[in-house]
Symmetry: C2
């Protein structure tokens, strides 16, 4: 069966689930009486459990980071570019773990899960979660898997923020922190985009204050708008220009006189965005989207230290690999450089790569050769260090 | 009464209206049997009618470009920074005219006007309009006002595109073209943002395919979302950061632990955006917003010349003043430079100013000293030229 998958893919994978029957106190002050984490692993844990790498997912990601769920699956996991035999997170050497975050909608406990107190889905009653909460749950998963210390904790975007938080909150359990296309905190513009997305969802008449599931409805329109908007911020202007430009759609192609002069799709970029929005609605939950955007807004490790990022990083012990992409305007290189500077100022070891790429923020998901090369080189040293 | 207004303001102004009882053939192929233009004028037309300047408004602007509608008006016209005694468009020298575009919602014939065929508001039946259509209507207004030739046609953003189109379509009637914070065409990213705004409006259940007025409803939510989104693109990331940063709103101010962990406003930038969106809904029509975004998408004078902007500009005869702002990411300096390059390549006289300003696209509306200085210097030469 694995013959049908690319040689450098981990191939067929299965999700696993772990139920934690201990309560979890959250940053928001509320408590989850119990919760479950859905996760996947790739590669083999060695005898000393020294070769484990935790991968953290971004806003709309999940635990399916690599490989295929069945032989007919059209798309592999979201970080297929970086996880697999011979890839940066080389599954011939590392044991890679990726879990769906709590609050998510792909298996871990979240708004679509049943609330044990009511027997009904949590929906809007699911508590707000933070990046620190995720680190706590992932630490328990590490305990369960017998991993005392990760060779590395890695992620891109919101996943990179989790890697950063791991290094701060659990310094003894992090060998290396790999922080890609991330930021030490959201900018006002980032928050503004999140707020428009939230308003789009929350003002959808089928949102019903988050209790749409109980009515058999879904705020499809609002979630579609949120995703369309998000997508614009994931791509660079140049990438959008190169991919679509002002290319026209369908029969109306040609000169000025041939416009449709109506609200049907006239430009390819409109068609692309509508498709992105519509297909997202079928695979994502609106309450989860809201929670993830709030976790992003709240993330700000320096805030507990009077805004001093250097002090916030004072507890870390791991070396860092930080990478950014030149055309990323969501979390631009300047945001990564701020992390790097604070790490250097507090005398941490840090490797920084600012990678020329036209794809915008989404570059962290893509097989950009220079990115794969520097990431591979860094992880090869990590592998040697841990005897993987 | 004028004593209550700033010395450098045109003070109290009144709108005028001109009804044109001739039909107008539009680019979309449809015809308006008749139409009206609401406009304002500032300053005095000289005996030879050589000192008239046409000002063109942007997406959400209107004919009220300067001065105040009554003594208690809190806000002056939208280009108060540049129109008035001693300002770049010096009303001691120039006779400044600004009309509301057809398709608009502030007096000129548009979706909220009555369709003479039905006696009901046009609503969604109002035809699509283009920048070229606006030039045609403004040319008729010039005829009516006895202005054979404008000393200058000027505008920012979509207004700058109108100035460019005037120079192309009516070369004998344009003394100078003043094109500020504009672009020769929208980028894929620009179209993408417009498309999200349109989807927000059109998917609002109270939109009713644009026939909301007949039902006494309005797509308030959709229009609010469109405006919130637009507003993000009008401000630079730096300006938003400087103005709001991660400043917190209300009682929840302080450290991480003090977040509200709910969907109320937590950051100042959220409050600002909601306010911008909500107040816009009270003064703007959703069908007009849709029309204006489409006029933007369609604008592409080079398209009729196989994409060759230089050839598109071949018909122009006027010198140009082109200005852009360094932090404008909606229509960035590169877009203005493309216009300048094409003008130079076709041997037109062009003055170009790339102005350092942190305000983003909205800088063209603001009293940025360097902007006012170069704009004033240019217009002073125009005034001398026409004996104003």
């Amino acid at each position: 069966m694995s013959g049908s998958f690319p040689q450098d893919s981990v191939g067929l994978v299965e999700s696993q689930h772990m139920h934690f029957d201990e309560s979890l106190r959250l940053d928001c002050g509320r408590e989850l009486p119990a919760y479950g984490l859905t996760y996947e692993t790739y590669g083999t844990l060695n005898a000393t459990a020294s070769n484990a790498v935790l991968v953290c997912h971004a806003l709309s990601g999940d635990h399916h980071a690599a490989g295929y769920h069945d032989a007919s699956a059209r798309k592999p996991g979201w970080w297929e570019a970086c996880i697999g035999p011979g890839k940066p997170l080389d599954t011939n050497r590392f044991f890679v773990v990726c879990s769906n975050n709590i609050g998510g909608c792909h298996g871990s406990t979240g708004p679509t899960s049943n609330n044990p107190d009511t027997g009904q889905p949590y929906g809007a009653d699911f508590p707000m979660v933070t990046v620190r909460d995720w680190v706590r749950t992932q630490a328990r998963l590490a305990d369960y898997l017998g991993i005392a210390r990760w060779a590395a904790v890695a992620g891109g975007s919101l996943g990179g923020m989790q890697a950063l938080q791991w290094a701060i909150d659990q310094p003894d359990r992090v060998g290396h922190a790999v922080v890609i296309a991330a930021a030490p905190r959201l900018s006002a513009q980032n928050i503004a985009f999140n707020e428009v997305a939230r308003q789009a969802i929350r003002s959808d008449p089928e949102f019903h204050d988050g209790r749409y599931a109980a009515r058999g409805e879904r705020p499809r329109t609002g979630l579609m708008l949120a995703r369309m908007l998000g997508h614009i911020t994931y791509l660079s202007e140049a990438a959008m220009g190169a991919k679509f430009g002002r290319d026209r759609r369908g029969s109306g192609e040609g000169e000025h006189g041939d416009y449709g002069f109506n609200y049907d799709v006239e430009f390819e970029v409109e068609s692309y965005l509508r498709h992105q929005g519509q297909s997202f609605v079928d695979r994502f939950d609106a309450n989860t989207y809201l929670l993830m955007t709030k976790a992003l807004d709240y993330f700000d490790p320096a805030a507990d230290f009077g805004g001093d990022l250097e002090r916030a990083l004072g507890s870390t012990r791991s070396p860092f690999f930080v990478a950014s992409f030149t055309s990323d305007w969501r979390f631009p290189p300047a945001a990564s450089r701020e992390i790097v500077r604070a790490l250097l100022d507090t005398n941490r070891r840090v490797s920084y790569a600012e990678i020329r790429a036209d794809h915008g923020h989404d570059a962290f998901l893509m097989p950009v050769p220079r990115y794969q090369a520097v990431f591979s080189a860094y992880m090869a040293r990590v592998a040697e260090e841990v005897g993987a």
